[in-house]
């Protein structure tokens, strides 16, 4: 065939796989950018939640400072949950249409196809998170992070979005209908509500507290909050911030790796 092998086969295989991954990422991005409905929903809903929490419930939350300082990091995480739905649906469409058969009959490796969707998810989230962040700043969110704090927050959020996107990809592969695939967002979005995203964990009923403290979203939110708005009540600082960040990273990497592997295996097996 047409492969020009000037390097060792193993290297050539890796080069092909990376090229395929780039091709598939380009494809998913293109398709996502043409799905305006999904983009608008994924942006508008978190913006509305932001406004609601700030202006409607905000007054009821007994806090010393603006509630928006406290809630914005959690709402940014919610964006990832909304984005997950469209990622899962896009994967499901590949699986239920004829596309999966063509892709699987090509020399392309399965993970490159799913990687394409994950890359598109990252790009989509960059846009939706950017908009939500912009609105938050417009209505009074005042982050006080330095360059390192910003880098850390963006890096961790990227890792979180990628992990959620792999979860979404897995749901997309195993789901039999677009609706079932979209249901992933309920799972993903449920978590921020039972975390420290909107209220400090110690205000939750005792039976929820244990779960809220030890689920993956809480350390991510606490880290982002600690990095962006360290002055907020309840924000973790100093040494504690470092260890919380490590827990957050471990969760994201772990979830991402497990679901990436599961999605790839399911992609190869499903028929």
């Amino acid at each position: 065939m047409t492969t020009t092998t000037t390097t060792t086969p193993r290297l050539a295989g890796l080069r092909d796989a990376l090229a395929d991954a780039a091709t598939m990422a380009g494809r998913s991005l293109r398709l996502a950018s043409r799905d305006l409905d999904a983009m608008i929903t994924a942006t508008a809903v978190p913006v509305m939640i932001l406004l609601m929490f700030t202006f409607v419930f905000g007054g009821a939350m007994a806090m010393d400072i603006d509630y928006i300082q406290y809630a914005t990091p959690g709402i940014i995480l919610l964006c990832a949950g909304f984005g997950a739905a469209s990622t899962a649906v896009a994967v499901e469409q590949d699986m239920s249409g004829g596309m999966v058969d063509r892709l699987r009959s090509l020399p392309t490796r399965p993970w490159t196809v799913l990687f394409g969707h994950v890359a598109a998810a990252l790009a989509k989230n960059l846009v939706t998170t950017g908009v939500v962040f912009g609105v938050a700043v417009a209505i009074g969110f005042r982050p006080s992070a330095g360059v390192l704090g910003w880098l850390g927050a963006v890096g961790l959020l990227t890792l979180f979005v990628a992990a959620i996107a792999w979860v979404a990809a897995f749901f997309g592969v195993i789901a039999r209908t677009p609706d079932a695939a979209a249901a992933v967002s309920f799972v993903v979005m449920f978590l921020p509500y039972v975390s420290s995203a909107f209220v400090p964990v110690d205000t939750l009923p005792t039976w929820l507290r244990g779960f809220a403290q030890h689920q993956p979203v809480t350390p991510v939110i606490e880290t982002v909050r600690g990095l962006l708005v360290p002055g907020t009540p309840g924000a973790v600082v100093g040494d504690q911030l470092g260890s919380t960040a490590l827990v957050a990273i471990a969760w994201c990497v772990g979830i991402g790796a497990v679901f990436a592997a599961a999605a790839t295996v399911a992609f190869r097996r499903r028929r």
């Binding site: 047409t2 020009t4 398709l31 058969d101 063509r102 009959s105 090509l106 392309t108």
Partner: protein
Amino acid sequence: MTDAVVVAEGLHKSYGDTPVLRGVGLTLHRGEVLALLGPNGAGKTTTVKILSTLLPLDGGSATVAGYDVVRDAAQVRRHISLTGQQVALDLKATGLENLTMIAKLSRVPRRQVKARVAELLDGVGLADVAGRRVATYSGGMRRRLDLAAGLIARPRVLFLDEPTTGLDPRSRRDLWELVRDVVAGGTSLFLTTQYLEEADELADRIALIDHGVVAAQGTADELKRRVGQARVELDLADAADALRIRTAFPDIADTASDTSAASPTVALATDGSLAHVRELIAGVESTGVVPASWRLREPTLDDVFLTLTGHAAHAPDAPEPGTTITQEKAA
């Protein structure tokens, strides 16, 4: 056989408790077109999926381009391409974007991608609409684009699963032309179809599949020869007449056609010689049956199917919902 590019032996496959393939054996030779012909649910798609490494088999073995479809699946995938029963296109992307993606994934050298894609768009007559989204294409245009996608890699073996189902006669002929060009270029073609005419037109050899078993394999002529040279076809008034004819010619009357219909047709096999036809006509007259009309005709693949499987091939003209072109989900 050294020039065989697809060899399948005793393929078995079940979905749950339902056996779908029950010992399918097939051979496709280099440069040849093999049509796997069978009615809905016969097991055509299942066979294609096994040969193109998409489905594991429960029993038997198969090699494609010299590689085992199970053990060397990755190698097989380098030498085949598949255009499945369902169109595999991104509706929100343009024709050009679709083909460019497949060209890259098919390992067409980067610098040749553009030229190769342009060549194929031209070949399938879609150059003018290459910049339009596939969602705006007609069913026939989508089929042609899908076929083009299957040809990009210049595969050694091309699998086409019911490429013309749901197309109008004109588009079907256009597609046949394209397929002939491809085969002339040296590609071996494994085609499935439920249209006897299509198998007759395109295939060098035909394998009749029915309920997961290959009932017969051979050239169209060989298969036709197995059911007699020609037939005398009688259009009769009712079932009673049909029964009388069948009783009078127990060996040569077809017994599978539906005689409960309002005006049944019964065919009698003949060598087509004047003497034999005259003898048959005399025999019919002596039964007292008066056919509304009659004709002498060449055997068709329908006859082959009827004789070899005991029932009609039955190719409905209307495509089954969901089996042909995927509808665009909300734009």
